[in-house]
């Protein structure tokens, strides 16, 4: 008798008692049981991956939204010493969520940190949202924000 080298599955050789690897009444490891043990191990490995992935939100998407200078409008506000500038831009998800996701945005600044007052999302639906940005001045060309949308888990 011998064993194949990958998993040690039993292989019969000429001269062996015929059928020992498939007959439980003969001495030796049953081929079927050796295969079943390996299948069980692989299935357990696979199930571990499924469990790990299954615990994560089923839909996570991310991107960047640019708000060009032309979309910014002055917003008078006595809260500040001078009017601020408000811009918005709609984003459509590449594929819809099953329900409105949680959306977070962070401005990606290339200069002058401190000028952006607020970045937010509103009108969030399964298919998209509108990113907003409020700053003390309109951008020279555009403001860009990174966004991540995640299926809500609670």
């Amino acid at each position: 008798m011998r064993n194949e080298p990958l998993y040690g599955l039993p292989v019969e050789e000429p001269g062996d008692i015929e059928g020992w690897s498939i007959n439980a009444d003969l001495p030796g490891t049953l081929l079927a049981e050796a295969i079943a043990a390996e299948l069980t191990r692989i299935e357990a490995d696979y199930n571990a991956i499924v469990a790990t992935l299954g615990a994560l939100p089923a839909n996570i998407q991310a991107g960047r939204v640019a708000m060009v200078r032309a979309v910014f409008r002055s917003k008078n506000d006595i809260f500040y010493d001078s009017p601020g500038w408000l811009g918005s831009q709609a984003v459509t998800f590449a594929r819809p969520f099953d329900s409105p996701p949680a959306v977070v945005l962070i401005p990606q600044l290339f200069a002058s940190p401190g000028e952006i007052v607020e970045v937010g999302a509103y009108n969030v639906t399964q298919s998209g949202f509108t990113g907003i940005l409020f700053a003390d001045n309109p951008p020279a060309t555009q403001y860009t924000s990174g966004w991540i949308a995640v299926e809500r888990t609670q």
Binding site: L9, L31, L56, I106, I132, Q154
Partner: protein, 151 residues
């Protein structure tokens, strides 16, 4: 010699030499069932290992939600031209993280330009506190995402 159609595993027919699929035949030149099965097991193992390698670097837990904060505390200050309002809400994670996660938050407001700050305080594996400051005391929505830290 016949082979089944899904994986090409050999099996024996009535006219075959009995046991050749177990031995490879008298001269060992025929396909051996055990070796054919082992090759398929190795292929499956490699596929599973590929998945493990691909997704093993993912955060093990990512949670997300929405909350509402009523900024009821009036804050007198000199930085702005008027008082502002501050509020907090505690978020208890539906499932505790293995360690303190990274938490990010963004206001979900229907009146853009009024919120001053949305931030996070005191995250633990079980909860975090979301903060919101705005010009008025109107209840304001926030979105949050918490993820296992990967570094």
């Amino acid at each position: 010699m016949p082979f089944e159609s899904s994986y090409g595993l050999p099996y024996e027919a009535g006219s075959d030499l009995p046991g050749w699929s177990l031995t490879g035949g008298p001269d060992g030149s025929q396909p051996v069932l055990a070796e054919a099965v082992a090759a398929q097991l190795r292929r499956l193992d490699n596929l599973v290992q590929g998945l493990t390698d691909q997704f093993g670097l993912f955060p093990t837990s990512i949670q997300a939600g929405a909350a509402s904060i009523t900024p009821a505390t009036n804050i007198v200050n000199t930085f702005y031209n008027a008082n502002y309002f501050r509020g907090t809400v505690v978020v208890n994670f539906a499932q505790a993280f293995g360690s303190t996660p990274a938490v990010v938050v963004t206001p979900n407001t229907t009146v853009p330009g009024v919120v001053i700050e949305a931030s996070v305080s005191g995250p633990t594996s079980a909860l975090c506190t979301l903060n919101l400051a705005r010009q008025t005391s109107t209840a304001t929505g926030v979105f949050w995402i918490a993820s296992d830290q990967t570094q």
